[in-house]
Amino acid sequence: MPQSQLQLDTLSPSTQVIRVRLFASLREAMGWDELLVSPSRAPATPFALWQQLQLARGWRQVQDAMEDEPRMESDGDDLPKGVQVAINQRFASSHTLLRDGDELAFLPPITGG
């Protein structure tokens, strides 16, 4: 899928639409930077969308490419250590309840400065 292409998942019964954004290594591993997504189950949280969009697959690829770094896996109930969540451009918990129109971003480890 070309990057920057917005897609609406119309199979979902939910009327909520969340704008999901990926950055850096995670974006390249998944092959998309932005999707409009309707959560497939309640409660709609960042972690639920992480599972729905199968982002763990991309995260595994990211980890494979960094063979000399310690691996940061998910413990099943939460995002892998190292991945942070932003809702409407503010850091947030992965279990925050999402609202219609929210902008949700999954951020791989930050390396600025």
Partner: protein, 161 residues
């Protein structure tokens, strides 16, 4: 001094090369004009691109991605809380984005305060905060291949005396 309010923030992202010396001169001139009297202590940090990758290869270029909007917002918030905590009077943060070459300045942080401790501690704290809490991502290019950097190195321990 008029009714100018402390602290004063000057925060920006730069797409092109930055010249830290010129940047500082401009900042100080503008602050002197605004504040009337320049605070007694200034602390400065300039970060430059290293010539080798984390794996020890010769670095061709460093690419910096950011989250437009959130990155600027986080820098402002971090600068604000840091300046308040340390009683700093003015903060300058300029961070590069895009493609950089070895030796180029990647970040400039400068802090003015009445006392050296305030200026130095604020400068160091703000640099550490922005390295971990402002969304930037580095990709190292070497031998024609790019590799995302896995994480920032922790601050070095103080040398033993």
């Amino acid at each position: 001094m008029g009714n100018f309010r402390f602290p004063v923030f000057c925060i920006s992202l730069a797409r092109e090369s930055i010249a830290p010396g010129e940047l500082l001169d401009q900042w100080q001139d503008r602050l002197g004009f605004n504040l009337g009297e320049t605070p007694a202590a200034t602390s400065l940090f300039i970060g430059r691109v290293r010539g080798t990758t984390a794996a020890g290869l010769a670095l061709e270029a460093l690419e910096l991605e950011h989250y437009p909007g959130m990155t600027e917002g986080q820098l402002e918030q971090l600068a604000g809380s840091c300046a308040e905590r340390h009683g700093a009077q003015a903060v300058l943060v300029v961070h590069r984005v895009g493609r950089l070459h070895p030796g180029e300045a990647i970040v400039v942080v400068a802090v003015m305060a009445d006392r050296r401790g305030q200026a130095q501690r604020c400068c160091q704290d703000l640099l550490e905060a922005l390295k971990h809490e402002a969304p930037f991502w580095k990709r190292e290019w070497a031998g024609g291949a790019g590799r995302w950097v896995g994480g920032n190195t922790p601050l070095e321990r103080r040398p033993q005396r």
